[in-house]
Symmetry: C2
Subunit: 641 residues, 2 copies
């Protein structure tokens, strides 16, 4: 037999693969999206697939429930085709096409955008993108004035903005003769000027005048969010977000880096984020605004260091190998054409520089947005996304670290976890008497899973009602039908929503493995905070403000976060939720050349603390893997309850 043809329902996508190929690999090749947070190692249980036809070989996995197994459901990563097959993925039955969602910037973010703009102006940073439109009404050539087109253009520019040696791409040069003659030599020149360089991005007829657009993109490990912005006014015209299609190669940066080192891996990951995610967002936004992708003449991208490398297709392997060295912090001048972003091919691309391998440009953008660089007070900045990054400091000094929190706050590595999208339980309370839960769902639908803020509420409520002990073990002695023993996994679990309550007829539960994962995640963050403060010789009480960013969602309950020992016990008014600060920061970089300079300065001047190498960190972590903490003096208010 030559190979196996796999038909994926319901999209009817077909792919031919070698015999013995896993169905997950086949799905990736077919462009069928299957979530695989663990990168296909068989331990997350998310890549469930229903076998409709065909022969296969499979490995059993504890994370696949017996009930599923009996219905012919398997894990795609552990099922290998032996013949032609017909299969149907279960978990997220969507192709990436429909992952685009409307995302109106929330009130917090809108507020922060205004605030950050004001802050920049107050510190003398001009809100000027560096992209400009210059009108040139040139004299048409004659036999006596036979200066060539390009020299005529350069001469015209010189009269408007002083002598220049402008650059332009061959594409722009090729369009020049036609544009000049098609518009009677009356044109608008779109220029990018930075560091004495002058680059012509586009030449357009002056009568067909259009605004200049730019995009800023937060390239998250899990979610990619973008704004389409009118550069001259700074107005956000469209917003959109989508799951990062790289998810099918693993939930966290480490599994992606590992995938990238295999044959074709780097190209597949680049393609997934550029073609499969960002370009679709651009398409969606330009279609809604009814403009051409070519009208977008500047792009700013912020992501963690691995995302920045994969965006450019630069090998990321050394990020994960000691001594953890990125290929670049700043990058040489690049254009959309080089990166494959389908906006104007000559649009400059700016990737917000990062601090180190595990504190990337998303954090620098966040710090830029949060204004720590301009603060007299001590600010603690927490980004609770797929990983947890922390920055602490003020105008004078800033230190940063990365906690190995994993993706728990975006629902990763939790059996019923999901990101904060429609169908996610985002708030939970539990009746202390009946032990019955009460929850709210994003979008007001039936629930499909639980997101970060919901998990924090849930764990806090289980702890406060005594369902779990400080170690996260379930008290099996309590009388509630919601507390059960899972024979498969050999652990107890708590049922949040029964089959008939959920959208897909699958129970939503949390088990002791989930709880353990979650507690380790929150412990990593808290230990990170303590360690970072130590490097500054500061105590928790020295913090004047805690700014929380990231995909954890704006419904984060601060009290509950303190109750479980994720956040330090401080007055509630000291906590602020900033939203997607990486997107806000990249927006600032889009509309202000000065902001880009400031971001570079922040990235260079911030001190990176490698937690794993820091004396005493492990003790801090172990101590924090308790609800709320082994050292109860740190949470006096919680212990009083």
């Amino acid at each position: 037999m030559d190979g196996c043809t796999i038909l994926f329902k319901p999209q009817n996508r077909i792919i031919k693969v070698k015999e013995g190929t896993s169905l997950l690999e086949a799905a990736r090749k077919a462009g069928v999206f299957i979530d695989a947070p663990c990168g296909g190692s068989g331990h997350c249980g998310k890549c469930r697939i229903r076998i409709l036809e065909g022969d296969y070989r499979f490995e059993k996995s504890l994370v696949l429930p017996d009930a599923d197994f009996e219905k012919g459901i398997r894990l795609a990563c552990l099922t290998y085709a032996l013949s032609d097959m017909v299969v149907e993925p279960l978990e997220i039955k969507v192709t990436n096409e429909v992952l685009v969602e409307d995302v109106d910037p929330g009130e917090e973010e809108k507020g922060w955008i205004k605030k950050a703009r004001r802050m920049m102006e107050d510190s003398g940073i001009e809100i000027k993108s560096g992209l400009e439109k210059i009108r040139l009404a040139l004299d048409p050539p004659t036999l006596d004035d036979n200066i060539p087109d390009w020299e005529r253009l350069c001469g015209g520019l010189a009269t408007k903005c002083g002598p220049q040696s402008p650059r332009c791409s061959l594409d722009v040069l090729k369009r020049l003769p036609g544009t000049l003659r098609g518009n009677g030599f009356d044109i608008n020149v779109i220029l990018a000027r930075e560091h004495g360089d002058c680059e012509i991005i586009d030449v357009r007829g002056s009568c067909a005048d259009k605004p200049l657009y730019g995009i800023c993109v937060d390239v998250g490990t899990t979610t990619v969010a973008a704004n389409l912005v009118e550069l001259e006014t700074g107005k956000i015209k469209e917003s959109a977000s989508a799951g990062n299609l790289q998810m099918q190669y693993g939930a966290d940066v480490i599994s992606r880096i590992i995938y990238s080192t295999g044959e074709g891996g780097l190209a597949a990951l680049k393609h997934a984020v550029v073609e499969g995610t960002i370009n679709r967002l651009v398409e969606e936004m330009t279609a809604r605004l009814n403009i051409y992708p070519e009208d977008i003449i500047f792009g700013v991208f912020a992501g963690n260091t691995t995302m920045a490398h994969l965006l450019l297709g630069v090998e990321a392997e050394n990020i994960r190998l000691e001594p953890y060295i990125p290929a670049f912090r700043n990058h040489p001048p690049l254009k959309a054409r080089d990166v494959g972003i389908r906006i104007n091919p000559d649009a400059p691309v700016f990737i917000v520089p990062g601090v180190a391998s595990y504190v990337g440009g998303d954090i620098v953008a966040g710090v830029l947005a949060a204004g720590i660089w301009d603060s007299d007070e001590n600010v603690l900045f927490l980004d609770l996304g797929t990983n947890g990054e922390l920055v602490c400091g003020n105008r004078e000094v800033m230190v940063a670290c990365a906690c190995s929190a994993g993706p728990a706050f975006e629902g990763g590595e939790i059996s019923c976890g999901m990101r904060a999208m429609r169908g996610a339980i985002d708030e939970v309370t539990i009746d202390g008497r009946t032990l019955e839960p009460c929850y709210s769902v994003v979008g007001g639908t039936k629930p499909r899973g639980i997101c970060g803020s919901g998990l924090i509420d849930l764990v806090a409520a289980m702890f406060m009602t005594g369902i779990i002990d400080p170690k996260g073990k379930i008290n099996a002695g309590l009388k509630s039908e919601r507390i059960r023993f899972d024979d498969n996994l050999g652990v107890h679990e708590y049922v949040i929503a029964s089959q008939n309550e959920t959208e897909d007829g699958r129970e939503i539960t949390i088990n002791e493995i989930d709880l353990d994962n979650f507690i380790r995640a929150k412990g990593a963050v808290y230990a990170g905070i303590r360690t970072l403060l130590k490097t500054l010789d500061m105590n928790v009480t020295d913090i004047n403000k805690i700014i929380i960013a990231g995909g954890i969602g704006r419904d984060l309950n601060i009290k509950n976060s303190i109750n479980i020992g994720l956040l330090p016990e401080l007055e509630e008014e000291k906590f602020v939720y900033i939203g997607n600060s990486s997107l806000i920061g990249s927006y600032l970089c889009l509309i202000s050349r000065g902001a880009r300079e400031k971001a570079k300065h922040i990235a260079e001047s911030m001190t990176y603390v490698e937690l794993s190498a820091f004396p005493g960190y492990m003790e801090e972590f172990v101590g924090a893997c308790f609800l709320p903490h082994t050292d109860i003096r740190l949470f006096p208010g919680v212990m009083k309850k």
Copy 2:
């Protein structure tokens, strides 16, 4: 019927075309080279093709001899496929693969290269290419020294050559982490520095040290010639030349421009010169020298203005439409990647700037090589290539013009004409008594045709022996079997070589139409010289030196050229043959940044004279369309004979 499949013998190339497509168009699409100097308009008679099988429609043409017609030979441009066909081109039965010939720079050129280098140094122009190799032995990173790769490289460069903001392509950045680690952070950085810009072309391990190579290319309308040069020493390591594959779209720039404006025309012409000609020369030269194309890190190109436009794929239409405006003189920074030249994709590309639409970078390169810019004496520079361009002047002032001489001096528009390659008759004498010719052939083989220098000798000999009168009419009353009447064309002809003397069994003859074309060509050059001198208020006798360049060949007979009135009557020692001055000039630009600056200066400062608009030019031209001239006082020496 859906289409016709045309099989070209002897290469057995197959192409499917629409019914009614001309065989010339089919050959172009199939990549079969058929010479078509007239661009496929049916009047040059070069595109002869033998029909072996199939139905077709054709138009009769006077330029196709009856004997040929009876043998089933047709003109490819006037024959249209009506069914599947099998055909065999006659004229030049080669694909472009074998057009590459060894060309060792001739003695004259070698001498001029030395002379030009010395001249440049004497005027303070440094022989430095601007490309350099800098060795950096960087400290490998550690946990305490975790500067990213790119920043580490930039830092290292700064210590060696001062603070830089180097640019590099994404490709170079992608290779950086691997190159650094594969070589223990001990590397050679290949830099291009110009106008304060600093561009990293390549990063290589320091142990695998290789010379830096560059190529300079004369992109002629008919012939493309290239040198592969070791940049640091200036040594020419390889030379090669080939017919410009664009010839299949017409012999002169006007027919190429016309072709370029049709659908896909511009792309076809660009592909013909870049992929079909230059890249093959590069392949040939790198293979012979046993280096990689990527080892070539700089490329300099000189060609007429149309060639420069077509090389870049920039529309050339305005060159031919009044007021004759090129798209560019200088070009923005470009790389080999942009142009499609298959050397190192990051190699900078420099196209020698031209003066105007009909005095291009090849002439500027020629003037640079000939040293007019440094001469106290009055120099007349003639480039007798596919067109004829003239420059006259000295250190203080230079004027230039283009004669519409056509391709006669490279054998174009002459029935048995060919360029000065193997098989070309390059010298001719005629016995005044017997009227029998005596000739020499390039390569010492049987003749296939006659090249420019041979034509000059032939016409001069026919004129001096009275075979033709001053108007180029053949004296039919002379008793010689070599003088005949061609019934087809209705004109007389002179047989230079009979069927059994030639390589392909085809007679080599010259007829009165050829003679008329040739006399008009030489008339255009002489009229150009006279007009150019007028603009400088000079006489022929004010000229101290005449430098002759171009494809006419080093065997040009000066006396004969004066005898027919092509060149002004001056002492023979005032004439110098420089060879391919465009190639010499582009070589100088390759090895010297200062030479590039000088070329830019020459291009900007030279005055272009548009002959067609110059009062009195037409009278000059009409007067010069005589052997030697209507005004015999201009050629006292000739008239004495």
